[in-house]
Symmetry: D2
Subunit: 262 residues, 4 copies
């Protein structure tokens, strides 16, 4: 399991959310309180939208809590949209290419969860990714494979529908392989303008997900970064959240998504 | 704070103590139970005596829990004397040269504790190390500085006396600098034949230290590696322990050491 | 391209061949003279046979020339069979899992060369590896994929025949994909008792390969480690070499191998 | 020896100078042509001035040629003043804290050269650094020590005079220690507004230094980044260069500096 954070709104320096708060993402790398694992020390990453259409990405394999480059970058970079992620590996190697967020074109994607029995469906899953997208695969995680397959399924045009299709495909592969371990998928996607958050699971136990809205913007997190619950709303199990700059976030419960997550 | 383990006795593969037990040193890197910090992820190291008079050393900056080289080496190397250490930095950088154990000639040394206000006496302490030993300084930790100064004070010939002198010197430097933070020193020294363990502190609160003796040999640890207390003896606060292959360990309480630690 | 070294014979300390000679493997990491690239700084690895049936492996991503762990291990480990490799990536990431040698059961394998247009046949090649072997895939290189496929083709029982089959399969995949870049394959395999060296290429230009025999044993290298040619024999293009402890090496030219390499 | 690059002028993306040119700094990390060493693979660093008064810094220990984070950052960050450095260690460890540029307050400093016999005067040199500046020492290099001592000597107010004093002090320490190896000092300092370049040496052989001016700004480099000499001017041996945004650079030859360098 992992911990992550996303922001969309008025430009802020990354360290205001990633490093400075009482229970910041960097603090959660050592002391997560709502995760299966307290320590998220198997690498980390940040992604942000600056002057280019494509996001910047900085990922490394050391624990976030001791990385001076991360502190330095977060104090320099100011952005109106960014992602941060601290990783607790569920089995795949600690390499940069396995660290989140994953970038493709204008998109950033990060995931907290797991595909149960992933190694048994890995090739089956990879076989579904078209060649041109598979060429962009750099690592070996389930998360990156889901992202690439979802892109093939139209993620850019329909973030929720494409991910539902992808989620269902993965679930079917797992069932065909008689895997009984759960599929849990709390994830975030952005193109720098719109943010989509998913909190789905086959066993009704998706990892935690919260958000906080203000005039300045929206923050979406695995767990509140100020160590208290005030001002934070839970994204319900089985739901998705969509936010666009300048508009209030929309939480969609039930429907097709619910059936998938049931 | 850190966690460590030492062994002296019949040759065993390192993984029998470092990796395999329920609450092995590698497990303690993620879940220490008697330390100030539960996570000891700021690097690690092993040192062992093989066919050479000088010990082998393998140290790296990643967390021990995810290092496949460590697992591999520990399953290959069999030794009658070895050290293992997982590090939780008290402020100095996560570099290989700052990881324990430190080697010099036939000796290995590792430390769990801290010199309060170290940066204020760092140069004063380093100034006391003779040139030929200072040339061997590779890192920036208090632990390495103490080791080198103790070597200058005759550590090879008189492990307890030389360390008492060194400990007193450090304490005096701290007092002169009006440092009120404590000096805590739970440490291990070996030349492959004799093992000396120190559990000293200026404030009466040295980090934990245990040992277990059998016909095969002696294991000295920060905390029991089998998750239970049976068969383990506590090294008392202010005491030293000395063990030589083929002889029962001797614990010395009180005396000069006691006065220093009082 | 890369540089490598293998030894089979009377037990020697690894540093006698890996670190100490004038033009040692570590020296070649910075100053190779017969390779396409002078610098081989994209990671390195050693593998050796100790007290276990399975070999020990130490691999890391930094350049070999500055790795103190490598120097230390090579001065401690003595073995009658070992491999050493310094890597110059042809495109895949610099991760430990992409460093050679690759280990599987009793076997070590390392490769110097490349599959032209590899990313275009990567999935096709991986699809041929049986599930139980694919589960052991840790990295993303062509070299590891070839090794696993060759194991499936019977490498343990017939090192030359299985590799011929594998080489032909890769070549066919390349032809089907209309890849015009060459397939070059200078590689080494051992189980600790027998050593097999391959020097094959589709374009008649396999990377260099030399060997030197003495009463003590055989050394097989990408380029002579003493900086001179005296005492070294070239493994001819298209040939294989097989050596077993206590017997002179056998070089097989032409035949099936030749046709493949033509 | 090392290779470096500095820019002062109209804002440009770092990759236009650091990554993209034919003989860019990243290319020089693998193929330097005017340096003592062709390979500069012992770490690297960039420093730049963004929205904060203090510069951003990103340094890492892997070779620059294979670091995807460096490529990514350089394509995102646009600055009117920045430094880039690829390192070839002259003996000190490959750690982040030993990589250039070094930052202190508003200043960035980087160095190409060496203090001959540095380990023999290391403590003497460090002893001259005032406590408050010594507290900022993170690494073990001669370069960082010179920078801190120069800051104590008034580097912020008088970049040339303070460095002359510092250079003379180091030279005197070397003479007192009867060191016959040379002191070579090609270095760059900036506060984001003014750039000072030094090309000094005790033996008349300072590392190479070039600059190119245009309406957009000034580039100062170890060796031309376009692979040709056209448009580049040599900074003479023993000289300093000073540039301020919007004004032509001033090269000062001879004088006090000359006598020091003679």
């Amino acid at each position: 399991m992992c911990r992550f954070l996303a922001y969309l709104g008025e430009p802020v320096f990354l360290n205001e959310l990633v490093c400075a708060p009482t229970h910041s993402l960097v603090h959660q790398s050592l002391h997560a309180t709502e995760a299966k694992t307290e320590t998220n020390g198997d690498g980390f990453g940040i992604g942000w939208y600056g002057e280019r259409q494509e996001p910047g990405v900085y990922r490394d394999v050391c624990p976030a809590w001791s990385d001076e480059n991360l502190v330095n970058l977060c104090s320099q970079v100011r952005a109106s949209a960014f992602f941060g992620h601290v990783r607790a590996s569920t089995g795949t190697a600690t390499t940069r290419a396995n660290c989140h967020p994953f970038a493709h074109g204008r998109h950033l994607f990060m995931h907290n969860g797991q595909i149960g029995g992933y190694h048994r469906i890995k090739r089956g899953l990879e076989a579904l990714i078209p060649d041109d997208l598979y060429d962009h695969r750099r690592g070996t995680t389930d998360s990156e494979a889901i992202f690439l397959l979802a892109l093939a399924n139209g993620l850019a045009e329909d973030p929720i529908g494409a991910m539902e299709t992808t989620f269902a495909t993965v679930r079917d592969l797992m069932q065909a392989a008689k895997i009984t371990e759960p599929l849990r998928f709390t994830a975030l996607l952005t193109d720098g303008v719109t943010l989509t958050a998913y909190r789905w699971a086959c066993d009704g136990r998706p990892p935690s997900l919260y958000f906080r809205e203000s005039e300045a913007g929206i923050v979406v997190v695995s767990e509140p970064i100020d160590g208290c619950r005030e001002g934070w709303q839970v994204v319900p199990k089985g739901a998705t959240l969509q936010a666009t700059r300048g508009h209030p976030a929309i939480v969609r419960k039930g429907g097709d998504v619910c059936r998938i997550a049931a």
